[in-house]
């Protein structure tokens, strides 16, 4: 990723240089340098982790982290993919992300559509109803009691999925996107005899694919990274999602009991920790180049339209 980046960077700076050779303004040069520095600051920590995850534990302990893995070692990855714990954490994270995003998207779209249609007696109260939780929350204790005492969802993936299902902020982004659909299209469907439900499913949703992508991506990243609710409600190690497993690795160095394969040998804890980090951000890193433009669109929409 970095090599592709630097080569493209070199190419574009070369191109801009030829175009603006007449007036190389100092401020532009400073800006290019400034942005490049910040980009490096954003990327270097990732690279250090990737490099460290391929570095032998012994080397890590004696000479610290470095930018180039020497001697090259894949022990940690072998451990990760042979032990059952990480695989089950991956399964948990994928389940939470896929089911959570699907449910969240369905719930959010339904509510947003009803608010966006400006129905008399319905839309405004619903908007207020969805807005209040943004201003006032019950806090941690009632939620904890609700999930553990009343719903009894401890150690269920749904304890992670349900409390975050509908984000009011995303509801309002989606409402403003739905309102941008031209009314004529809906009217013409009505003339053709389509019912209101049909209009939502056959016209409203298909025409809103870009915003559905934005909202879905926000939910998906959120669920993939979620560890706080998991920390609260999950106690069974075999049901931990990835971020919680990773968090446990930070606070709990004697992690070896979670990895049965390495019971007798000393586990390369630090190398393992880095490898698990790579495994955790891997999917986001891979999906990011494709998804990135949607995110930018989403927060721009949220910032200007509210």
């Amino acid at each position: 990723m970095t090599t592709a980046l630097t080569s493209s960077l070199a190419k574009t700076t070369a191109r801009t240089a030829t175009r603006r050779r007449r007036r190389p303004e100092a401020f532009t040069v400073v800006s290019v340098i400034g942005v490049t520095c910040f980009m490096l600051i954003c990327l270097v920590p990732f690279w250090m982790i990737v490099s460290g995850s391929f570095t032998d534990e012994q080397t890590l302990a004696t000479s610290g982290y470095s930018l180039i893995p020497r001697p090259f070692s894949t022990t940690s990855y072998e451990l990760i993919f042979t032990g059952p714990t990480v695989l089950s954490a991956y399964t948990a994270s994928i389940f939470i992300t896929v089911v959570g995003t699907a449910m969240a998207l369905a719930f959010t779209s339904g509510l947003s559509w009803v608010i966006a249609r400006r129905l008399p007696y319905v839309s405004r109260p619903l908007a207020v109803f969805a807005y209040i939780p943004m201003l006032f929350t019950g806090g941690l204790v009632p939620l904890y009691l609700l999930v553990t005492q009343y719903l009894k969802l401890q150690n269920s993936y749904f304890a992670v999925i349900l409390p975050l299902l509908v984000a009011p902020f995303l509801v309002f982004i989606q409402v403003s996107a739905f309102r941008q659909l031209p009314e004529e299209i809906l009217d013409s469907a009505r003339v053709d005899g389509a019912g209101e439900m049909q209009i939502f499913f056959r016209i409203g949703l298909p025409l809103s694919k870009p915003i559905l992508a934005v909202i879905g991506l926000f939910y998906a990243v959120h669920y993939w990274n979620e560890w706080f609710t998991a920390l609260l409600f999950m106690s069974d190690v075999h049901k931990y999602p990835l971020p919680l497993l990773l968090q446990n690795l930070i606070s709990n160095v004697s992690f070896s009991q979670m990895l049965p394969t390495a019971a007798e040998q000393s586990t390369p804890v630090y190398q393992l920790r880095l490898a698990l980090t790579v495994v955790t951000i891997g999917p986001i890193l891979l999906a990011y180049p494709f998804a990135q433009r949607y995110f930018v669109k989403g927060i721009t929409l949220g910032a200007t339209k509210g």
Binding site: S8, L9, T13, R15, T16, R20, E25, A26, F27, T28, V30, S31, V32, G34, V35, T36, F38, M39, C42, L43, P45, M48, I49, E57, L60, G64, Y65, G110, L111, I115, L119, P120, V122, L126, F129, I132, F136, G138, G139, L140, V141, P142, L143, Y144, L146, Q149, F172, E196, M197, W227, F228, P243, L246, Q247, I250, I281, Q292, I299, T300, A303
Partner: protein, 312 residues
């Protein structure tokens, strides 16, 4: 739908109700996970007994609040929460504006897009991963060392045992926050910059302004409304700590609490470790009420300031 003019209103109402079914799942969600917990806040006024449930436990008036405010922790965590949030807000806004103005200077379209995507990426990184990165930078495998210390000793400076030194942590957390949110903020500001009409800059060019002058005298003043909105909203949320990031990084490292313990982390710890539901709920209620007053005030101010970007 019926075509009878007399039944038109009723038909419309029926359509409304039928369509409202779409909102039903989300309404149920809000009732259970947002509104029911609000009712559950009565725990704050009770001597909570798990076997008797929320509503069966005996009342104890304001004892829970009294206990919290007399514990000596209250002042520390309130000060930390406010101080850290002010630092975060100022730093991320400044970084966002600076980055947006710099990004706006970039001419190569491809480089601009790559730059924007790259600096935006940390926003999607889990706090847990950030915590691991910090460990790589601040402490090596042996509990000392780390990349920063290697650099310090390279320059002949004394190394620091970061994880036992509470002093620098507000600044470290601020740097983390800028790393995490700088790109996000810059995208918002960049959107505001693109909506500035081109002729303002043309006028500047005719008057012989350099690009730096245009950035400082035209772009920066025109970004004020956006900055004001973000500032007001940020102030409104000043009472809520960023639990995820701070807890992932600090965890239960007690030596760092004097400068890093905020309301949310304190609440979480007293719930998990002590299991004191009453006092914890009391702190939560206090936070929610003060937070609500701040958010509501902020929104009112913001509504008055700029009608068209109002969030309500």
């Amino acid at each position: 739908m019926t075509d009878l003019p007399a039944g038109r209103r009723r038909a419309m109402l029926r359509t409304s109700l039928w369509l409202s079914l779409l909102a039903l799942p989300a309404v149920a969600f809000f009732l259970v996970f947002s509104y029911a917990p609000m009712a559950g806040l009565v725990v704050a006024f009770k001597e909570f007994d798990i076997s008797r449930g929320i509503f069966g436990s005996p009342w104890n008036g304001l004892d829970n609040f009294r206990y919290f405010f007399s514990s000596g922790d209250a002042q520390r965590i309130l000060v930390n929460t406010l101080l850290l949030n002010v630092l975060f807000l100022a730093a991320t806004l400044a970084a966002g504006v600076t980055l947006a103005i710099m990004l706006n200077e970039l001419r190569g379209r491809y480089f601009k897009r790559v730059a924007q995507s790259t600096i935006f990426f940390p926003y999607f990184v889990s706090p847990v991963v950030i915590a691991i990165m910090l460990q790589v930078l601040l402490s090596g495998p042996a509990g000392s060392g780390g990349a920063v210390n290697d650099a310090l000793s390279g320059f002949g400076l004394p190394t620091v045992s970061w994880y036992t030194e509470p002093g620098p942590w507000p600044w470290i957390l601020t740097v983390v926050k800028v790393w995490q949110m700088g790109g996000y903020m810059s995208v918002i500001f960049l959107a505001a910059i693109t909506s500035i009409p081109e002729d303002v800059y043309e006028a500047g060019q005719i008057d012989g302004a350099s690009r730096a002058q245009m950035a400082l005298r035209i772009t920066l003043p025109l970004l004020k409304p956006t900055a004001a909105v973000l500032l007001v909203l940020g102030v409104g949320r000043i009472f809520y700590g960023d639990f995820g990031t701070i807890y992932a990084i600090i965890g239960d490292n007690g030596t760092l609490f004097p400068t890093t313990d905020v309301i949310d982390t304190y609440v979480f710890r007293s719930l998990r470790q002590i299991g004191d539901f009453g006092t914890t709920a009391a702190i939560g209620l206090f936070q929610s009420v003060v937070g609500f007053v701040l958010v509501a005030t902020a929104l009112l101010i913001q509504r008055r300031y700029s009608k068209e970007t109002s969030l309500l």
